[in-house]
Symmetry: C2
Subunit: 420 residues, 2 copies
C-alpha cells in the first residue's frame, strides 16, 4: 500500500506559505501504516496538475490531493481530477444546503461560483467540511489508483483528514499491518546525546523502532511496534520504554505528540493544589504567559510581576538595593531575593524568578545567555541556578522559561510530602 501527497497551490511554489498540509497528512499515513515515497507540489494550473496526477496514479495505490476546492477561478483540482477519471461532477445536496443557508443567514447574494464548492466527482464518497464550505471526496477505483480530495486551508484540511478521511482510509486499507506508536518526551538532553545513550537500542530495532526527533528546546522519541493487537503492541512498547527509562529516565517528562512540558507541570500543580507566582526580568512575562496558556491555571496562579528595571525589582518584589549593588542584577543573590519577594507578596507555595542577559548586548560584563533562575518552594531555603543559553534574544528567553519549568518539575517530583 503506497500513497503520494500532492499539494496544489501557487502560493506554496512562491514560498508565501509553508506546506504544512503534507506534513499533517504524512503523519496520518505513517500512523495508518501506509507507505509514502513521494510528495509533490504543483500550482493552480490544470495542465501541470493533470500531468502530476497521471504520474502519481501510475506509481501509487492512493493519491491524496489538497487544495484548489474553493469557489474562485483558480480552484480547479476537482475539475481536473474528474476529467482524468472521466466522470462528471455531481452535487452534494447536504453541502449545498449549508452553502445556501450561509448566504441566507448573512443576507448576501450567492454568486453561481459558490455552487462549485458542493460538487465532487461522481462515484466518490463526499467528505464533510466542518470548518468551511468546500466538500472533499474519497474515490475508490477498481482499476486505477484511489484518490482522496481535501481542501487547502489547513484548518479545513486537518479537520476533514482527521475526522472524515482517516476512518475511511483505515476501513479501506485495514488489511495492512497496523503500527502502534508511543511518543516519549524529553527535556534537558540534546538529540545527539540521547541517541548516543540509546545507540544499542536504536540499532537493535527488531520489534520496536525508535525514531528520535529534535523539536524546539526538547527531543521526542517515537516508539513504533507492528503487531496484530493493541495488547501485543503495548507489551512490546512497555518493554522498550522500560529499557529507555533505565538509561535516560531522568529527562523523560511525559508522553504524546501534542503534550508540552508546561502542560505536564501545571496539570500536576493543579492536581497537587500548589500555587505559583513569578518575578521576571529578562523573560518579561514569558514564563507567566506560558503557564497562562494551560486551561484551569487560574486555580493556582493569582498573578505575578515583571520586574525589568532595577527600581521595579525593589518596588514590586522588595529586592534590597544593597543586594543589587553588591552582587549585580545577574546574580544568585538577586534571583533568590526576587523569588522570595514574589512568594511573600502573593503568599504562594512556590515562586520562580528569572534574571539574566537576553542580549543582544552584554550586561554587567556578562554575555548574552547568562541566566539565573531562582526557586522559592514552600518553606524550603530559596535556591538559584545558573544557566548559559545559546541563541538569539527570543531563544534565550524561551530556553529560560523551559529551564524554569524543568526546575519546578524536578522540585515537585522530589517532594515526598506530596501524594503521587
Amino acid at each position: 500500500m503506497q500513497a503520494e501527497i500532492i499539494a496544489v497551490g501557487t502560493e506554496i511554489l512562491l514560498g508565501q506559505i509553508t506546506n504544512t498540509n503534507s506534513t499533517h497528512i504524512a503523519q496520518g499515513l505513517a500512523e495508518l501504516g501506509i507507505d509514502s515515497y513521494y510528495q509533490t507540489v504543483v500550482g493552480d494550473n490544470p495542465a501541470r496538475l493533470a500531468a502530476v496526477i497521471e504520474v502519481a496514479a501510475q506509481r501509487n495505490d492512493l493519491v491524496i490531493l489538497s487544495g484548489g476546492l474553493g469557489p474562485t477561478k483558480d480552484d480547479l483540482t476537482k475539475q481536473t481530477l474528474a476529467k482524468y477519471l472521466n466522470v462528471p461532477l455531481v452535487e452534494d445536496v447536504a453541502a449545498m444546503q449549508v452553502i445556501t443557508d450561509r448566504f441566507n443567514q448573512t443576507q448576501q447574494v450567492m454568486t453561481e461560483n459558490n455552487r462549485l464548492q458542493a460538487l465532487y466527482p461522481a462515484g466518490a464518497t463526499p467528505l464533510t467540511n466542518h470548518n468551511g464550505l468546500a466538500v472533499g471526496a474519497f474515490y475508490q477505483s477498481p482499476d486505477s489508483a484511489d484518490f482522496l480530495l481535501l481542501p487547502g486551508p489547513p484548518r479545513e484540511m486537518t479537520m476533514m483528514f482527521d475526522t472524515e478521511a482517516k476512518p475511511k482510509l483505515q476501513a479501506a486499507y485495514g488489511e495492512q499491518a497496523q503500527i502502534y506508536s508511543r511518543v516519549l518526551r524529553f527535556f534537558g538532553i540534546g538529540e545527539s546525546k540521547l541517541v548516543t545513550e540509546l545507540q544499542h537500542l536504536i540499532n537493535d530495532q527488531a520489534a520496536v523502532t525508535i525514531a528520535p526527533y529534535a523539536k524546539i528546546n526538547e527531543v521526542t522519541l517515537r516508539l513504533s511496534a507492528q503487531a496484530d493487537t493493541q495488547t501485543a503492541a503495548k507489551a512490546l512498547l512497555d518493554t522498550t520504554e522500560a529499557k529507555i527509562r533505565d538509561l535516560v529516565g531522568d529527562y523523560l517528562y511525559g508522553y504524546g505528540d501534542d503534550n508540552t512540558l508546561v502542560k505536564v507541570v501545571i496539570d500536576e500543580m493543579i492536581a497537587q493544589k500548589l500555587s505559583i507566582t513569578a518575578a521576571e526580568s529578562l523573560t518579561a512575562g514569558l514564563f507567566q504567559s506560558t503557564i497562562g496558556s494551560v486551561p484551569g491555571v487560574s486555580a493556582i496562579f493569582p498573578g505575578g510581576f515583571v520586574t525589568y528595571a532595577n527600581a521595579a525589582k525593589h518596588q514590586l518584589v522588595n529586592v534590597p538595593q544593597a543586594t543589587i549593588d553588591a552582587d549585580g542584577v545577574v546574580s544568585a543573590a538577586t534571583a533568590k531575593a526576587m523569588a522570595q519577594g514574589a512568594q511573600q507578596q502573593l503568599q504562594t507555595d512556590t515562586a520562580l524568578s528569572f534574571t539574566g542577559v537576553a542580549g543582544p548586548d552584554a550586561l554587567e560584563g556578562q554575555p548574552a545567555g547568562t541566566v539565573w533562575i531562582g526557586l522559592a518552594y514552600r518553606d524550603q531555603p530559596v535556591k538559584a541556578q545558573l544557566y548559559h543559553f545559546a541563541g538569539d534574544r527570543q531563544r534565550i528567553r524561551e530556553r529560560s522559561v523551559m529551564a524554569g519549568l524543568d526546575l519546578l518539575r524536578r522540585q515537585i517530583a522530589a517532594d515526598e510530602t506530596l501524594k503521587k
Copy 2:
C-alpha cells in the same frame, strides 16, 4: 528560466518534520524572478532519487536539491547526482581542513565517512557551509539542467542559500527580468475585506502585481514591479502604494517581510521616550513578554503586573473591590482601573490593561473571546475598548495583545504634541 526544488529526506515523508527548506528556497527564487512550477519530496533512496532527478532535469533549467549531504550511510544525494551527471566526486580541500580541524579540536577520532562531507561533483563550484561541515555545490551544465546542492538542516541550508548560492544564481541567470518588491503590513482588516476594497487595483495588475497574504492576526500585501532599474521600480511601487493608502491607509502600520506590529510600536515609543507598563489578566504576561522581545525596550519598560486573580488586581494595581463587585472583572470599569493603577504604580507615560475571557469556559456569563482593553495615556482620561475575538484560548490571548498594540499605535499617531 524555470527551477524545481527537490527536498530529500525520509523524515519529511513520515511527517516528522515540515519541509520549510522548500519554502525558503521558493521565496528566494521568486525574488530572483526565477519561475518554479513543481516541488518534490523524496526519501533517502538512491533509485527513487535518481528517477526524480531525471524527471526534474527534463522539465527545468535548474534543479535544486536539499538534504542528504551528511556523513551517514543514508546520505546519498551527491553520490546519486554525480552518477546522473557521470562525473566523479572530488574533495574541497578547504572544507576537508575544517573537518579535520574540528575533530582535532574536540580530540575525537575522525571516522572515514566524515570525509564524505567535503566531496562535491567534479566541475561544480563548491559552496561553503558556515553552519556545518557538509559542503554544497553549484553545477552549471551546457547541455542539461544546472544543479544546486544544499544541505538539509535548515540552519545550514538557509545560511548557504542566502550567502553562497543566491549571489551565484543572480550572476548566472542575471539576464532574467528583475523583480522588485515591497511588502505592506496591515492590522485590523481581514484579508477578504482588504481584497474587496482593493479589487480594481488587484485586477488591473499591469505594471505592479499585488499579492495579498493572510498571516496570523494580520495581512500583508506584496507589491511586485518588473523593471530595468531600481529607480524605475520604486516609482511604480510608490504610485501603487499611494492608491492603496487612499483606500485602506488607516490599517497600514509598516513595511517589510520581517517586520511586526510590536516592533513598529515599541521602536516609535523608544524614539519618543514614552514609557509603558501593563496589568494583564487573561493575557497573563503575553503583552509584556511580546514587548520584551524588542531589543532596547528596557529604556521605556520598567516592568509590570500579571493580575490573574481578583485579589491580585486589588493588591497589585489597586482595583477597588467595589468596582469588581459592581461591574464584574470583565468590564470597562475594571479595565480602566487596572490601567490607571498600573500607570500610577510605576509612573509611566502609558499603561495597558487586559481583562476578559480566554476560555474555554465562559466567565461572569460572558463567552470566551470577550475582552476589554484599557489604555491610560499620559494625563488623558483613561479609556477602555470592548472586543469579541474568535478562536481558541491561545488565539484569543494573541489577538488581545495585537489589539492592544494597535490601540497604542493609533493613540501615539493621534498625539499631536509628539514630533513626527
